[in-house]
């Protein structure tokens, strides 16, 4: 049923990706026919959520102008932001609902497509039970949409299975911050970074994946600050590192434990802070005893002197600041890695102060806001646990349902796909998620998609995953629907509607509401505009850790963003958490967590002796559904290449630009070599933004962190040969 209806090349011919280089009407069109208005909004891509002004004419986005007054990026943009306007008016844009037929897909009316979707979901639930259908959400959606989707799954469908693609992004960090601090948010605003005296960047290709953060780091160095970078590759941010720690993939925790060992051994811990504001330090200190720098060096490949130096610099800095991203989080011990870094910050008192703290660099546009209000499998709005009876009672009241009607936690994203593969889940409704490119072991993911008895997709472009759909509902782009998002700092920002959806395409929120009503929910899904959803969301979040009850669209505009928690309308918001020394746990303390080192889920062996690690390039965004359609961005880095150190390349007779076959225990791919001295000689790197034979996720494995359920994209075992 969910096999691709026809061959892929016919689908690509019709739905793209096609490359667009010029604005609507061509390069000269604006000179002849200027923009009617500038709309102040935000970039649709990463978690930096840079402010940008879109130029609009005739209900089309025709260009951009930097927005220098927005304080986070002050006009700065990366190449994706500069070219983001070209996704509007794109010829690949889906303009009406599509239903599969023998020729591929045909246009359908909304009535037909929505009736069919609601009917199939109901049939499957009647036949196999409520939990036989699942919902996938996305972290590029506005917070209103993610809230609505969570309510839709639990109230209209009554399934416990809803999760989102942030499962591939922020969950290791989120789990660790909740364990340590009782709340899942970066505790410091970005304006603290330039004030730091020592900055550690752990597992973040900052310059390519969150380019705007680069200037914040350089400003710390301008003041004389030192920069420490931990990575298996020398990424562009490394060019000014004062200390580079070339860590072996999957061994970051050994470095953090080695640093903790030095801090304890040399009496560099902040005893006063530990005593007043924390619990559990002694157990952590005890667990670091066996991790002397020599032991940590043997495991991690980082010189013992470098570990000593990093520990001393960080512990003796007046203000130490740690930033981390997917490099340490995309591992089967992703939560432990983050906790290892948090432990260092808390042990040295570098938390809750100006210029001192520990932050996660959120990946997706609304990676922060998108996980706070209900599309995460174990959470209710306001970042509340779905297992908490008090939270259930509060949210049930807002939703007008009995608390018992709200299902308990369902499966996280990858487990949903595994349940589909084994036949437990039969139907799937997905919005803004391209799992065929973004989930690991994509041959397995394809098999699962082919087993679905019903697959419905809401999206604005035809993703590779949507090739398998029975029905595709043409939704709205970022610039077509108003709402809010929370940026990397937890600053809630206002996404303005610049244009209305073209053709027959509809607002995502209206599609979801319509579907809910067709599923028999007459009440609770009659929102006329996003603002009404936001007002209900504020109520639902009231009293939770992510309290939005005091935030309004107008207040966001006035203050250029509002940092949550913001519990009342006269509350200014909370840019820096824990300033009063109180953490969000019931006892008000930060909780040290003992971290245990263990091997990767796909260990190297005699047959597969090389580490494979995956990541991103600056000109592409995630699974490429949007950025693989923009000409200038594609030209900048047209297809994946495998980075290989000259020493490893020589062993295998490989020269720069040669074709190389990379094989793991799952599959193989052939791509061109990029021979560079900027990667460890025992490791190769491949970026992941492409589908099909160019998809490195055919090679990655399905091991997840046991607590966060994040896949281990950053560590696989492989072998290479000249092709």
């Amino acid at each position: 049923m969910a096999r691709r209806p026809i061959d892929e090349s016919s689908l690509v011919e019709r739905f793209g990706p096609h490359l667009v280089y010029e604005p609507p009407g061509g390069w000269r069109s604006e000179a002849e026919n200027p923009a009617e208005k500038l709309v102040q909004t935000h970039c649709c891509f990463c978690g930096q959520q840079c402010g940008i002004q879109l130029k609009v004419r005739d209900n089309q986005v025709i260009g951009f102008e930097p927005w220098e007054e927005f304080p986070f990026n002050r006009g700065m943009l990366c190449p994706k932001g500069v070219k983001r306007y070209l996704q509007s008016s794109h010829p690949d844009r889906l303009l009406s609902p599509l239903m599969r037929d023998d020729s591929g897909f045909r246009s359908a009316t909304w009535d037909e497509a929505l009736s069919f979707t609601a009917g199939r979901l109901q049939q499957l639930q009647q036949e196999y039970g409520r939990d036989a259908v699942a919902v996938y959400g996305g972290a590029s959606l506005t917070t209103e949409k993610t809230y609505l989707l969570g309510k839709f799954a639990r109230v209209a469908l009554g399934t416990r299975h809803i999760d989102y693609n942030g499962r591939l992004c922020m969950v290791s960090a989120g789990t660790a911050y909740k364990l340590a601090f009782g709340v899942d948010r970066s505790p410091n605003p970005w304006s603290d970074i330039p004030l730091a005296d020592v900055v550690i960047i752990a597992g973040s290709n900052t310059a390519e994946c969150s380019p705007i953060t680069t200037d914040y780091i350089w400003r710390s160095r301008d003041r004389g600050g030192k920069l420490i970078v931990l990575d298996p590759r020398m990424t562009p941010i490394t060019r000014n590192a004062d200390l580079f720690l070339p860590v072996r993939p999957g061994t970051d925790l050994a470095v953090f434990l080695g640093m903790m060992h030095v801090i304890v051994r040399d009496g560099l811990a902040n005893r006063d802070f530990i005593e007043k504001h924390t619990i559990g330090f002694n157990a952590v200190a005890e667990s670091a005893k066996i991790w002397d720098p020599a032991t940590a060096a043997r495991v991690s490949g980082v010189p013992p002197e470098a570990i000593e130096k990093a520990a001393r610099w960080f512990a003796t800095a007046k203000r130490g600041f740690a930033l981390h991203a997917r490099g340490i989080e995309h591992q089967s011990k992703g939560v432990e890695n983050v906790l290892g870094l948090i432990n260092l910050c808390v042990a040295t008192g570098n938390i809750g102060r100006e210029g001192a703290g520990c932050v996660m660099i959120t990946g997706q546009g609304n990676g922060q806001g998108g996980r706070e209000h209900g599309q995460k499998c174990d959470q209710l709005p306001g970042q509340r646990s779905i297992a908490d009876p008090e939270a259930r009672a509060h949210v049930a009241k807002v939703w007008g349902v009995n608390p018992a009607e709200i299902p308990q936690a369902g499966y996280p994203a990858l487990e949903i796909m595994e349940a589909i593969h084994r036949g437990e889940i039969k139907g799937l409704l997905s919005i803004c998620f391209n799992p065929l490119v973004s989930l690991p072991d994509s041959n397995f993911i394809r098999e699962a998609l082919e087993k679905l008895e019903f697959f419905g997709v809401i999206d604005f472009f035809m993703s590779e995953t949507a090739h398998h759909a029975d029905v595709i509902l043409a939704g709205s782009l970022h610039e077509e629907e108003e709402g809010v998002a929370a940026n990397v700092e937890g600053r809630v920002i206002h996404i303005r509607q610049a244009v209305t959806p073209p053709g027959q395409a509809r607002l995502d929120s209206q599609i979801i509401c319509d579907l809910a009503r067709r599923l028999g929910r007459k009440e609770g899904f009659n929102f006329r505009e996003p603002r009404e959803i936001f007002d209900e969301l504020r109520d639902a979040s009231r009293g939770g850790p992510a309290d939005y009850s005091g935030i309004t669209y107008e207040k966001i505009d006035r203050q250029m963003g509002v940092f949550w928690p913001c519990p009342s309308e006269d509350h200014p918001g909370t840019p820096r958490l824990f300033e009063d020394g109180r953490f969000f746990h019931a006892d008000g303390k930060a909780h040290f967590q003992v971290t245990e080192y263990r091997e990767s889920g796909d260990p190297i062996s005699e047959e597969y002796p090389i580490y494979l690690t995956t990541g991103r390039v600056v000109s592409q965004y995630l699974s490429g559904t949007q950025t693989r359609r923009i000409g200038a961005l594609v030209d900048q880095y047209p297809e994946p290449r495998v980075e290989i150190h000259p020493r490893l390349a020589k062993e295998h007779g490989i020269s720069d630009n040669d074709w190389v076959r990379v094989t793991t225990r799952r599959s193989e791919m052939t791509l061109r070599a990029m021979v560079v001295r900027t990667i460890r000689p025992d490791t190769v790197f491949i970026p992941y933004h492409w589908p099909g034979l160019k998809s490195v996720n055919r090679l990655t494995h399905r091991t997840v962190d046991p607590r966060s359920k994040i896949p281990e994209y950053k560590v696989s075992a492989c072998k290479i040969q000249k092709a």
Partner: protein, 195 residues
């Protein structure tokens, strides 16, 4: 140095991350939309990720204009060296060969040399140049002179030597505090057989 409150253009290659936001944004400027007039180069990608952005330095005595047989390259009163004038340019590429910084490019499809004019249309209207506005590492910056002196660890320099030729420019390059002029010795670039 000019009035310290006035805005000036600064390049700090050590901040550059090679993202090409500048090149992409340059191509969005209205007077030459679709044609980027600046470029970013890797020094040697096999050895390092180090990159350098190349915008026009706007020489006080522009070599490109001096060698132009058609007198097609003009400098404005405020020191901005402009692209060639279309009616005059004969696409001979003298300027491309003569520029000590490697800036001008011959756009063969237009039969005209085009290069960075410091976003003359934007700066004349009180806006910052597109590249320096968007640059996420502020390797390209358009800010008051006193601000750059106050906030950066390097200092601005606009004196360059190419052999005995002394070139001064409107655009500043950020340099270590010990450097007063970039003295590029041609001997550093001459190849000699190993004895």
């Amino acid at each position: 140095m000019q009035n310290t409150k006035s805005l000036a253009f600064f390049i700090d290659p050590s901040r550059c991350i090679g993202c090409e936001a500048c090149v992409n944004a340059c191509a969005e400027c209205e007077t030459h939309r679709g044609y980027p007039m600046i470029h970013v180069d890797y020094l040697d990608r096999s050895r390092s990720t180090a990159t350098v952005p190349a915008v026009c330095m706007h020489c006080d005595r522009p070599t490109c204009a001096e060698v132009c047989p058609a007198d097609a390259i003009k400098k404005t009163e405020d020191g901005v060296v402009q692209s060639s004038l279309k009616p005059r340019c004969i696409a001979c590429s003298n300027c491309v060969l003569a520029c000590p910084f490697g800036i001008p490019k011959m756009k063969s499809e237009l039969e005209q040399m085009m290069k960075c004019d410091m976003c003359y249309d934007r700066t004349a209207a009180g806006k910052r140049p597109m590249c320096a506005t968007v640059c996420p590492s502020q390797a390209l910056a358009y800010v008051p002179v006193d601000e750059i002196v106050r906030t950066r660890r390097e200092k601005p320099v606009n004196v360059f030597f190419f052999g005995k030729e002394r070139v001064t420019t409107k655009v500043f390059m950020m340099a270590p505090l010990s450097v007063d002029a970039f003295d590029v010795d041609i001997a550093d670039f001459i190849w000699e057989p190993e004895s």
